[in-house]
Symmetry: C2
Subunit: 333 residues, 2 copies
């Protein structure tokens, strides 16, 4: 294992400590229990938006804490759900009297622990709603999942719902908006190489020198198919077809197109894949209204990428365009 780390068991806290020192104007790090909260939390009268999940997917989620996106993020150990006490403390820390929305990726541990935290908060008089993101078309059930996994649409949901919360929307309306985003987004990922969890010290799976895995999960969970390495164009076609045919996206649809890197794939290749995706959308009559290209929901040092398409309308695009100021995503401020 070749990593820039000290003690493998302290990687998460060591990294978060550096992260918080790099962005003191945006975030605060709370360590007992562990969560990251926006520097000016709680914002009175605003619904708090909280997410979280296992670490190893940076910048998600802590990198999206700030103005116009998340109010707090709860990082678990690497690829491990955060505990209910983390989520409970984060929820209480961002409660400005208007309730809190939990955005939860569909993994069994995450669901369970967010539910438990929500109950504890509700018992303490805080209104909490939760929306589960399950946008990965690759497989129906998976290693850590009943139903579909939650992946790239999570980033888009956090941006869009965070913008609406900043505008002052109430909790029921935000809940509906987040459900709409989840219902309108579809994703699929692929890997050229496995990733290595620091505390494990060896790759989560093995791939041959000329093999790739289509439909991979963000923890290295098996995908649809292991296959010989193909050209970018062939890979993009297969990924786009899986996503487009699922919703399905139709001629005339307008989308936000998100090409995401798994962590070890250079930007040069991600932009190349974006060009391929654009060409496919053009051929299908799907208009790319906005785009996002880069490493936003990663899988440690995995090489590969994912595609997310989100069917959008004027409401979603306007919220997408709203200012955002977080360590990982910023514009308009």
């Amino acid at each position: 294992m070749k990593k820039l780390i000290n003690d493998p068991d302290k990687t998460v806290i060591d990294s978060l400590s550096g992260f918080a020192q790099a962005h003191p104007e945006l975030v605060k790090l709370c360590t007992n229990p562990l969560f990251v909260v926006r520097a000016d939390a709680p914002v009175q009268g605003k619904v708090g938006v909280v997410s979280g999940g296992g670490s190893g997917h940076e910048p998600m989620h802590a990198g999206f804490v700030g103005t116009g996106m998340l109010d707090a993020a709860c990082p678990g150990q690497v690829f491990t759900s955060p505990t209910p006490d983390q989520i409970e403390a984060a929820t209480k820390a961002v409660n400005g009297g208007a309730g809190v929305l939990h955005i939860v990726k569909n993994y069994t541990g995450d669901i369970m622990n967010f539910e438990m935290a929500a109950e504890l908060c509700q018992a303490a008089g805080i209104e909490v709603q939760a929306v589960v993101i399950d946008d990965d078309v690759a497989v129906e059930n998976s290693l850590y999942t009943a139903g579909r996994r939650g992946v790239g649409t999570t980033v888009l949901a956090e941006k869009i719902v965070g913008a609406a919360a900043e505008r002052g929307w109430g909790l029921p309306r935000l809940d509906g908006l987040c459900c709409k985003v989840n219902a309108s987004g579809r994703s699929i990922g692929m890997a050229l190489s496995p990733c290595t969890v620091p505390a494990a010290g060896k790759p989560t799976f093995q791939l041959g020198d000329n093999e790739m895995e289509m439909g991979i999960g963000i923890h290295g969970e098996p995908g649809r198919e292991r296959m010989p390495l193909k050209s970018a164009r062939e890979i993009a076609a297969q990924m786009a077809e899986a996503v487009l045919s699922d919703l399905p996206f139709r001629t005339g649809d307008s989308v936000i197109a998100f090409v995401n890197g798994m962590g070890a794939t250079p930007l040069m290749e991600l932009y190349l894949m974006y060009g391929e995706l654009r060409a496919i959308c053009r051929d299908r009559g799907v208009a790319v209204a906005r785009s996002l290209v880069g490493n936003y929901i990663t899988s440690l040092d995995m090489a590969g990428c994912s595609f997310t398409l989100l069917r959008s309308d004027d409401e979603l695009l306007a919220l997408w365009d709203d200012p955002v100021l977080t360590p990982g995503l910023r514009w308009g401020i």
Copy 2:
């Protein structure tokens, strides 16, 4: 070689095509000869700022074209200098009547071709000045270099000088500012793994399973020393010492601290390294006034990182804080 590409000889143009489609509001791609220019170029009365170099270091330089940074970037083939005709065309495209500044990394081919382009432009009546960045403390001469290599300080120079150009500074004053930034910045890099040039198809060098290379160049050029893999803390200490002792940085200095990823190193590890660097600076009485952590000057799919420290004063910090709106760096707009 496992990469998301089609024809290895067309990787640069395929990637730039996707890049330009992702950021049409910020940049235009010109293809004959090849360069990237800000969408509203030329800006009348403003000094144009142009950089360029071999591809494979994305987002540098094309990702820094936009408002408040570069007016144009000239991408060569992977790890290959851009040709004089590219630089000449880019310089002419951004000339708003106030002259053009070239920011050139110290590599023999880059120097030669930027000089030739400058002469051609001067013959056509355009005032051109060039500043060479040579901030890498690792080695004095290198595979492609007489003197020190130009690395991380280039990103900081492009931001700071680009901001001053946006403010309306004249060419001689920008020239002086860029020299000051170069004189105040020092960098060093290290690699955990080699990188693979698409057209070559095999790694640029070999590293054992427990080896790292200290002082690596951004094209995989040999560094100071190949050594057994160490902890993040030990690596950071060695890198920081090389940088701090070179200028030298002294107790009471204020710096912009830049921890850069080589392309395949996850953000989690970069923030961890930033935390280590912060602790070292604190112990030395060096104040970190601003910071930048992420993949900004990469080396294809190399794993590793670099440290850059830039001694700063109120002038440099104010220019650093100025708004910037480019695909790779944006704040305040």
